[in-house]
Symmetry: D2
Subunit: 506 residues, 4 copies
């Protein structure tokens, strides 16, 4: 299991260690091509990173009793759940209602599928962040006919009020903010290990649920029709299993769908880089010199936003094709060393490790801001800054001044972890795309005629990718053009898509 | 053979008809999925479109004698060529020298490969546009060790001075501006049908050379190591042959390489839409309302440029994913009907047919400009405008006013043919990328160990695509970062690339 | 006195009423051309608006004793000050030191003027927001030779820690966060009414200090060399006094200097509109439809930022020249009614009143966000929303949902008050420009030979405006070109400026 | 008289020298602050610069007879004109009709003023470029009731066909392309020196007409109600006259009106820099490094356009305020020397002289493009390139390669004269704004009650500036918002404007 999951903001000492002696191996192996993961960096890295934006709304006076020790019933008398405080349900319901307004695609799915119930008979066990948006997904799955049981994929990210609201409306939810490691697995187990109920679908984010079933209840896979996995890490685990010939049901990789990729990375980062920098530093972007390391989708988004706000942006790249794109988009392509002394901000988006080294940090000018938009917490060699001659000063939440003996300070954001996860919020719109993709993947796997999917990892069919996109167009009051019969024939296309070959780059 | 090739600007009546009774079939069949071609629209459509920007520099007093009837010798006494006027060589040489300055990648290839001569022994027969840039390519191939014979792929596009310069320096070139159809095939035949010389490589643009050898000298393929094909049309023919099991040598599709695609379409069209509109209409972009039909790479380029110049841009799309991209990029997605009455400019970039119909044209406002940046000449239903009640007035080269009975005029550019080919120039930089790709493809095919390539159509290996990009970086004084050993290991990558998986979208 | 000053966030009922029977008139009269004020909207409207971003750093357990009742001494034994808690000085000092790093122009002034002490002998009484940036200004004035006494211009904006740090280092400061109205005037009086010390310069923000001296100590003006006024409101009062013939010393209007205007409005709002919207709503900008009312500097900034982030922006204007600029910049110019049903966000930047009426609000679509970047709190008719049939729901700080009987919600930010003041921070860079301008204006007035300035309101000489700009260039590592003698002669300019005629528009 | 007027493209040797011994002085004196002129650089510099874009449409076989020696009559029998060839009238008429479609403001003026004829009785003598757009202006003046007589203000800029069309429809026009200097003054004299007709209004562009009347017919000024002057040079002359106390009628400076300034410079140059560079060099902008000297309106336009097209732009400035704007807009502010070795393009927009010196030119890299968008032909020290060691090679119209002994070439455009005038076209929209302003200025001066205007130089009243803008809004289907009575009162404004104080910067 990935240790990073239990990192706590700014507290490297509280790392949790959980050991499973046996089957842990195939999950734990160092991925041989882990860098590739950065190419499809996903918001779902949240499952393996700390998560600071999950604020609680009502927990002013903390209740110290563990939820596991409480006796709680919802208003219908059910006690098949475990949440912090069922009484917070009303507040959580309002959050869910607000989220519903911003997730029109799921709401449309509910409406369209109301008659046919494409998930009738589906028994879905889920393990994801538990937020208002997840709640909208779960209630949509319910409306489509599925039964659901749910645990959290991260010990810190659960919104207690939302969990309460779900429990109140009858969902067996087992999650609260601040679970211990033992709690974490206990909750997962409570979802799976139920008398008289056995899941036939898995929705996972990070692979822990899948792992647990593999380890504890391998026989369960006989009835399971498929796994839908959302995170980079979880997808990686599935490919490992598949390579090892151990994957025993079809799995859908929803992380690499076009819609998710382009929107999650390019468009979302275009906004979150500004948001993250503003909320932490209140800096003015105009006239600032910035170097962005890496010109993939994330780097492209960061560069576009900062250029638009009047920053002067330099780019570093290892790939000559992306480098040429940077040139054509109007950015000077440099090596980091060439500009490190002059820039006001350093942003990493490479998916690589040690892109910013101690040597670079030594040469930065006073007040230089350093942050990471890329992969996990490897890109900036933060460890190299934890030496006696440097003083760390926490000036705000997520903002440290690291002070050199000569008085030079650099401003390190989120201790080198992902700025956009730590210091900005993820727009509901992006979460909506992800949730819709998950729902469609579940429907596809659940309803696929036998034989369509083997015991392998699949991408969402392009037609479904297009369908997810189409469900989000009404948000923008966008009107799609339809092909005439004559045109469809001329193009050799079905009028309803798919419209592009698989290799199309968008 | 594609009839469109012989269309003359504004003269639908001079269409040429050339018939080959037998094997013509597999070239002529209506492509079943021809629309896909638009996804990879290429500058090489020039081979199937008219080509107006190829101006002659010195032909002030036209010489009426056919080059085929002339006796010409170059200064070394050779007469193994057929050009308009060998005396124009000096002027052509200057053009080539200017082009050399803008094609640093080919010049670098010459330098790097000077020692090893990777094309030593290669006998290349080529059929492309004959321009200064082609000359730089040919002389590079020569410098790499190859022998070349060359014909033109279009009866109008040859720059006579450049052809003369090539002939003067010893290249057997058979081409002039204004060939008849008979001349066209005669020239090709003169390249192929030589005593004591047989080609072992083909460089084709449009497939006519390949077709001719298939038809006339099928045995020649025994010695041919491969075909490099540059155009959409030619690539399509090759795939047809391959499907039909008739492709008897490996072929390299250089049209779909990343570098070419993204640069040729996105970046090049971003500039040529402005250039084409300015040169034809002198219009001001600021404040104009424009509808762009299609948001593929070409549409993206057009939209970005016009938005930057202060136009208000609407987009139409059939594909919900591209549609969502248009939304996120800040364009209103509409159906053409919704805005047709209000826009000042209509631009098609769909690859589809009849996107702008007579009905649309009837509803446009006075002075509306209509042009095509997409595919061939099918997008605007120009034929529907050739009716008695409408008056056509040619107001400038490439600009027609079509006048309705009530006095309304629309401004039709290039008679609905490709604006960027007809009314703007193609930057040498783009041609340089294409030519470098062609050279590398020839080297790859010629030197590949037996068995690497079968009798199939291949894409350029990604590593070579990256190499083409890297050769163009010095133009921008761009400095690529190199992976450390540690980083390469972490990423599971070779330090010299390829850096991305094949499905990467850039 | 302006009643709005004492508005409390979200509490319209706590308006303070302070009456000065006699001379109040010339301050209170409805300005006849108050709209003009919007043309030069300034951050200094903060003095008449609420101010939420002034967070306290250390006041966790509130001390209920009034500072006026406390006996405090700084470490040097002085008790000539009145602040919340002198023990917070150290924390405040750190804030000041951080601010110093971002105000290089003032630091440069300190250095350059260290020798000559241009303010030697100056006795400055000031009344401004008391923040870290103000502290840097005050300590700069001290370094230039001046003696200073200071009060707050707003009862909520004082940072207690900074006030403590100033008191600790010997500045007689009379200010704390949460003054009563009586406190407010008592503090001002303590600055002015000192035995053995009489001010000869006034630095005011809002005009209250000036007003107090006029009312209570009119004889003091005999020794006063000039007033430097920063706010729109204060400047307006001065022009009223001047028109009425009652201005008895020269006054410098630093609000309308070029540097302040263009940077404060255009560049600052370009960033703060994004920041304000993100912090309050976490919305995604891409694809959103926005209408911006007013295309002055503020509107231009908002439009540019939102367009760059992928929003579709409409503009309303009353002035045909600004309207034409909007067109040329690529925005559809509409009447609010035309788009009110379709937009996702409404932003006012007009300086006008009732730009968004109840009728507009009734027609907005569900979830429409409404906010004000313009003038005071007049632009949106918020009062019209306080009717029984509408439900208000406070969903976050500064965010209200106003709910119609049919369930439609609009999202009202900052209750219609200035979004950028209430929900985003003001970049130090902008405050630096303002503070530098104030310092230079004080130097100019204090050192001006008699007769240069009459009893009138003056703009900062253009040369000083240019000097302020030049002091900020090093921040950007920007290198100014110097005229050669020959060029200066050719242009008829002094090599050191001023470089432009007064009417130059920038 | 300004010698530059007679410069011929590319032929410095054919400068004309015309001497008026006496009164020449006040026109010829070196302006003491001539640099200021660059601040309001105008398209009307065309009157003192060469003018290449005025192509002739029908003059294929040149007629060598001087128009002065020809006997021509229009179809109504009048011979009160002198043009190249009255038979070209029909072609010219079509050009005028096309221009009418793009000058809706003048057409609207015709309509609105049809009833009242505000120029009834006006006898206007004009001296401007004679183009289709001028013709629309003249015929509008006629429709408003005026009688007009017209000469050309530039010996090369007359469109013969348009002059013929005007003559055919009854306007006494005296102008042709390629006048000698003697012809030039003869034409002007024929406009003024008519039996039984005496002008009461002057419309001048460059001041030559005004000069001639001053010199030859000073008594005429007794009946003249005013002068409307369009060019920088002419305006400068008028201010000189005014200062010298010799201006004997009111004059209107239409060059410095807001609408003209911002649109002519910022928006027009934003487009013409791209157009001029493309037409001359076919270069690709993406990735190019460019230095723009000067960040006034013209520089701002150039920088914005090139940045949008993917160039990397550096800026040089002497004015710290404009410099700071460049920083905030995202451009590195440098000294020319810092980047001269690395840039691909150098563009001057300063209004200064010798901004690019021989020393700079010596250090540029091979293929560097140098051009001038600023003032006259002084900015680049082209004279310094006319030395024996450098070879000039004309590679295209307006494009010279200057070749250093080591083979380095720089690409000099338009020989250092204005790129936008020489190598791109001026959008009709901009000419429409100018012509409308001229018409309104004539109406204003002609109808002003006695005493409103003294013998001085005036700017167009702001209200008229706003009116010009409002007449152009319908082109963009732009809908202006009207103030309510309540709002107008609140703002202290008249509902019909003017809406801004005079110092407003836009």
């Amino acid at each position: 299991m990935n240790k990073k999951k239990y990192n706590v903001d700014g507290d490297a000492g509280r790392k949790a260690q959980i050991q499973f002696a046996d089957q842990k191996q195939e999950f734990n192996k160092r991925p041989t091509k882990i860098g590739r993961r950065s190419l499809s960096r996903s918001i779902s890295q949240s499952s393996t990173d700390s998560y600071s934006s999950a604020a609680s709304y009502t927990d002013s006076s903390d209740d110290e009793t563990s939820p596991r020790d409480k006796q709680q019933k919802n208003s219908k008398g059910s006690s098949d759940f475990c949440v912090k405080n069922i009484k917070q349900a009303e507040f959580g319901r309002r959050e869910i209602e607000i989220a519903e307004q911003e997730m029109p695609a799921l709401m449309a799915l509910r409406k369209r599928a109301q008659g046919e119930k494409p998930l009738a008979g589906a028994k879905i066990v889920g393990c994801t962040h538990i937020t208002a948006q997840t709640a909208v997904l779960m209630e949509t799955l319910g409306a489509l006919g599925a039964q659901c049981r749910w645990a959290a994929c991260n010990i810190y990210s659960t919104l207690n009020e939302v969990a309460a609201a779900l429990a109140e409306s009858g969902f067996p939810v087992f999650a609260w903010k601040g679970e211990s490691e033992d709690d974490f697995w206990w909750c997962i187990d409570r979802c799976v290990n139920v008398e008289g109920w056995q899941p036939n679908m898995i929705l996972d984010d990070g692979g822990d649920l899948t792992h647990w079933i593999y380890k504890k209840y391998p026989n369960m896979f006989k009835k399971i029709k498929g796994i839908v996995e959302e995170s980079v890490t979880g997808v990686h685990r599935l490919y490992q299993l598949s390579k090892a010939g151990k994957l025993c049901v079809p799995a859908m990789n929803v992380n690499d769908s076009v819609t998710k990729q382009k929107f999650d990375n390019l468009y979302c980062c275009r906004e979150s880089i500004l948001d993250g920098l503003k909320r932490t530093t209140d800096m003015m972007f105009g006239g600032k010199q910035v170097v962005v390391c890496g010109y993939g989708e994330v780097g492209k988004g960061c560069c576009a936003a900062l250029k638009a706000m009047g920053s002067i942006v330099y780019v570093t790249e290892i790939d000559p094709i992306c480098a040429l794109q940077a040139c054509m988009d109007g950015f000077r392509l440099v090596k980091l060393n060439e500009v490190i002394r002059q820039v006001d901000i350093v942003i990493t988006c490479t998916g690589n490790k040690n892109v910013v080294t101690r040597e670079h940090l030594d040469r930065m000018k006073n007040s230089c801001i350093v942050c990471n938009m890329g992969h996990s917490n490897t890109e900036i060699d933060v460890a190299s800054l934890r030496t006696p001659e440097l003083t760390w000063e926490r000036v705000r939440s997520q903002v440290d001044h690291v002070i050199w003996p000569d008085g030079k300070r650099i401003v390190l954001l989120a201790e080198g972890r992902l700025l956009n996860l730590s210091c900005s919020t993820v727009p509901t719109f992006v979460l909506s795309i992800t949730a819709t993709t998950q729902a469609l993947a579940l429907i596809e796997l659940y309803n696929a005629p036998e034989g369509r999917y083997k015991q392998d990892v699949y991408l969402l069919p392009k037609k479904m990718d297009e369908y997810v996109a189409s469900l989000h167009l009404p948000t923008f009051d966008a009107h799609l053009t339809e092909l005439t019969d004559e045109q469809a024939k001329y193009l050799g296309l079905n009028k309803n898509g798919p419209f592009k070959p698989n290799y199309y780059r968008y």
